[in-house]
Subunit: 243 residues, 2 copies
Amino acid sequence: MLYLIGIGLDKEDISTRALKAVKKCKEVYLEKYTCNFPYSDSELSRVLGKKVLAVNREFVENASELLEKAKKKDIALLVYGDPLIATTHLALLQEARKKKVRTEVIHNISVLNAITQTGLEAYKFGRVTSIPTWQDNYRPTSFYDILKENQKINAHTLFLLDIGLELEDAISYLVKVSTDRGEGAFTKKTPCIACSCLGTSKQKIKFATAEKLARLKLHKPISLIVPAHLHFVEEAYLKRFKF
Amino acid sequence: MLYLIGIGLDKEDISTRALKAVKKCKEVYLEKYTCNFPYSDSELSRVLGKKVLAVNREFVENASELLEKAKKKDIALLVYGDPLIATTHLALLQEARKKKVRTEVIHNISVLNAITQTGLEAYKFGRVTSIPTWQDNYRPTSFYDILKENQKINAHTLFLLDIGLELEDAISYLVKVSTDRGEGAFTKKTPCIACSCLGTSKQKIKFATAEKLARLKLHKPISLIVPAHLHFVEEAYLKRFKF
């Protein structure tokens, strides 16, 4: 049996159900390559009461070794956040099905849950997107298209920033694409919400113009929200994050 | 201190962090009026190691008694799913702030996490909406407008069905509004996904035309998804739910 287990955002987010599953497992793997981890492996081991083995992307994506093991014994693959939200493990679940390996998914909270701490209505968010780090020859702009689409239907936009990407750079990309296209979807004056380490004890939420937010030095992981038209309840709540 | 604690979807979804908080609390209240509860209070008490007191809407919304208590001692308010997603408790948090009562929010999974079990990409969902039970003089259609808006930007739409509302009725509302307006946004032939008891051990997912789904008898809570254009990975995964 393969347990695909979300461990949430902070070190004690793991559920009672997940802890029970981990106890049954002979081996507990930890997928660590998808985010800047906010706590150490040994802290996690302490909460789980079990040693965890960090694995790389290849081990997870080229799933044969993992599934061979899971055929013979109970093993767990721990994933930061929710196991089906950011890096969806659907391909792994499909492969397991083909090989007749039983699987169980145990969800946990992701940034999509924690953004409600901003006071923005969860039901008013449109499509979520991520901002990758631009390279010389690789400057995707699809995140800007998602913003424009969400704006069309008056929905908030959540941008997840790539590992290592600074808020200042993410904001400069948005301004650049908008300016290059001669559109006003995002300017230096756009009010935005920056979130740092959401869902952890280090969480910070800041509300200001893009220009002002770009000057902040925030711990990673960082997310950025461009709100749609604010409801007065949202506006009243957001005030506490203004600076 | 007031702990606002999400208990997730099934009875052992509660997190280690939440269990620690509950242990400190003198009184543990349970908000039970927002959904068809999938397990009993005593099952929950057993997991928590503490007696829970079910409270009504008035107790939570007219927060003065709750906040007076929280001023003097640690108390917990347990909420099904995530405490800031469906019934957002932002008004309660605002009121607590005014009265200088400390609060801590502990998130948990909601249906928004569990819908990823369908194989649909979380980032491709647009705005979420709910379908209320129609009364003689009260027939809101805003859920249909949200569908149309999401369709504009090629996003999946998740409908949460009101307590007590049958899938058959929800589908008939959608067909009726679409027909009345002379639009084809939703017809009997629209492929949809019906989800029953998502995130619990009784979970069922079914994929078929609206017409075919309407004939199913499903346990509540029920949600309905109208997918946008499917990616081939989504399509391959969804096959397992076809009937």
